[in-house]
């Protein structure tokens, strides 16, 4: 009889080790992808040049290309991927449905619609666009939540209402885009697919601030968030303050998604797919926030390199993630329907 607890402890220890090594590996891969994004381009620069530029030394050519173009671009990719991954998996965990990602249920559409409207119609730029997008995404999240409320919020009802709202907002986005001048069109397309082409410190710094501020809050809530998956009553019995946790988590995740969307556009499928991919890599029984964030960052960085250099035309990153994501999505739908709703 005594062997059972020993095996359990061993199993738990084995899982923890596996989790640590997987996390380490993911972090290393993200670092490699980030470094590669700094070195690869029309002109290749060695690691020494890149480090010297980052340290602030003047390297002819590299100072501009690496310092002013590639560092902001790679940082934006890293941060946006992180934000999409963490925000997406938070929604999926909270609603207990891998398909309830913010890009399906209208949160990203809200940010996009407000962003496009701000740029094209109101003529805003920079921080103002981010603020409008964040406000709109929060408003849309609140609206969906309120509309789905009827003797409690039901996951499936929330998803369906989100789909309806997303359809409405997407048509607003395309209407605004039709009104855009042809000159604005390429820029505005960023809001349909997501792209890092406009990267600059002006976009990176606010996003960095939000990520630094919000991610710790979410990490602190990761345990209550896990418990919420057991159902509201069970979580309350285990000492979780259900409504407060849910409110904090929703606001934090929406902030991440909206700020990332404001900076890089709704990069297709990253918020949707990071969580399920991370769940398959890390294995069951652990918080997915950090691994999903790392997967998101890795996907965005790699997809951006593919989009820029691997194909004939320079595609924005959202097109690549969309094309890579679509088959995986179909697989995920098929699997979820067959085995029930877990990640």
């Amino acid at each position: 009889m005594s062997t059972v607890p020993v095996t359990l402890v061993g199993e738990r220890r084995r899982r923890a080790t596996r989790r640590r090594s997987v996390l380490g590996l993911l972090a290393a891969l993200v670092a490699i992808a980030f470094a590669a994004s700094l070195m690869i381009g029309h002109t290749l620069y060695g690691p020494v040049d890149v480090v010297r530029v980052i340290l602030g030394q003047d390297v002819p050519g590299a100072s501009f290309t690496v310092g002013d173009l590639r560092v902001p671009r790679a940082s934006l990719g890293l941060l946006a991927g992180l934000a999409f991954g963490i925000g997406g998996v938070t929604f999926q965990t909270m609603l207990r449905n891998p398909l309830a990602a913010p890009d399906v249920i209208g949160i990203s559409s809200g940010a996009s619609a407000a962003g496009v409207f701000g740029i094209v119609v109101l003529g805003l730029s920079g921080l103002a666009v981010s603020l409008v997008a964040v406000a709109a995404a929060l408003g849309v999240a609140l609206l969906i939540y309120v509309l789905a409320w009827r003797d409690g919020v039901l996951g499936s009802r929330l998803v369906l209402i989100g789909i309806g709202i997303a359809a409405m907002l997407d048509s607003v986005v395309s209407w605004v885009l039709v009104r855009a001048s042809q000159w604005d069109l390429q820029t505005a397309m960023r809001w349909l697919t997501g792209s890092l082409n406009a990267a600059s410190w002006e976009l990176v710094v606010p996003l960095l601030a939000v990520v630094l501020l919000v991610v710790p809050v979410l990490l602190a809530q990761s345990r209550p968030l896990e418990l919420l998956q057991l159902g509201d009553d069970a979580a309350a019995a285990l000492g979780v303050r259900v409504e407060r946790t849910r409110l904090v988590v929703i606001v934090a995740a929406v902030l991440l998604i909206a700020c990332a969307t404001a900076a890089a556009g709704p990069i297709a499928f990253v918020a949707f797919l990071s969580g399920p991919v991370a769940a398959r890599i890390v294995g069951p029984g652990a918080s997915l926030l950090v691994p999903a964030g790392l997967v998101g960052a890795l996907v965005v960085l790699v997809a951006d390199q593919i989009g820029q250099w691997a194909l004939g035309t320079r595609y924005p990153v959202g097109v690549v993630t969309g094309a890579l994501g679509a088959p995986f999505l179909v697989y995920l739908l098929a699997r979820t329907h067959r085995f029930g709703g877990s990640l």
Partner: protein, 334 residues
Amino acid sequence: MSLPGRAGRTTWLFVALAALAVAALLSVALGVRAVGWSDIVAGLSGDHDTVGAAAVAKRVPRTALAVLVGGSLGLAGAVMQGVTRNPLADPALLGVTSGSALAVVCGIAFFGLAAPSSYLAVAILGAAAAAVLVHAIGSLGRGGPTTLKLALAGAACTAAFSSMVSAVLLPRIDVMNEFRFWQIGGVGGADWHRIGMVAPLVLTALVVCMGAARGLDALALGDDAAAGLGVHVGRTRLLAGLAAIVLCGSATAVAGPIGFVGLVVPHLCRLLVGSAHRWLLPLSLLVGAALLTLADVLGRVVARPAELDVGIVTAVLGAPFFIALVRRAAVRAL
């Protein structure tokens, strides 16, 4: 609510017909340029001497297209909801229209399609492929194609299709410029040639749908009961589904993707005449036509001097209706 008898239903059909006539008249009379009665009469009788009369003459094919497209979408929605036994079925929400959009874009970009007549076949093929795909994905697993699974499969496939559309479009600014006006859904650029091309298809599909009305009634009882009543379940579903795909594929080909008409109209009509398809289908056709024409008029009036494309109007008006339906639906039915 007790359902009206035969006389009541016939009355509703005539009311819908009258509403359609009023909508068509409004559509000819109202627009960016305000015109007087004399101009309307002159324009309708083929006289283009004044600017007002010429504007009216321009609005006639537009109105005809709106009637045709709205009728097709309303009918297609009613048939789809019957075939899938799914109250939230709508060509746009189930990804069918975005499938035909993807097919048209691929056709323009890779196969050099230029004539709208060749869009038509491609759009219908794309609609059919998307419908089969979404239905296949939504039917996987326990319980067959439930409402939630179909809606999610539709939303996911729409997302996938639209990122593929962007992938094809982005390097081709000329195609993009042409396509972005098409992708919202509008009846602005109507001409008789395009209408004449689609009309026979729509009429054929209409006849097929009406023929399937009795079978659709039986399908509502469940497959086994329908088979017990002597209905060929597979054949009915195939024929009616095919007709619905042809209807919304051709509507999409001439007017771009227009959402929510196919969702809203059948529900409205079911409230009026009940769920017998031999009444529901013709009424959906008439109400769909009237509704889309009115939405087009609304889009022209509210945003003067610009125009709001009809696809936007239907999305903005239709989404709240969809949400109300979802809120009303019993929890288990989802």
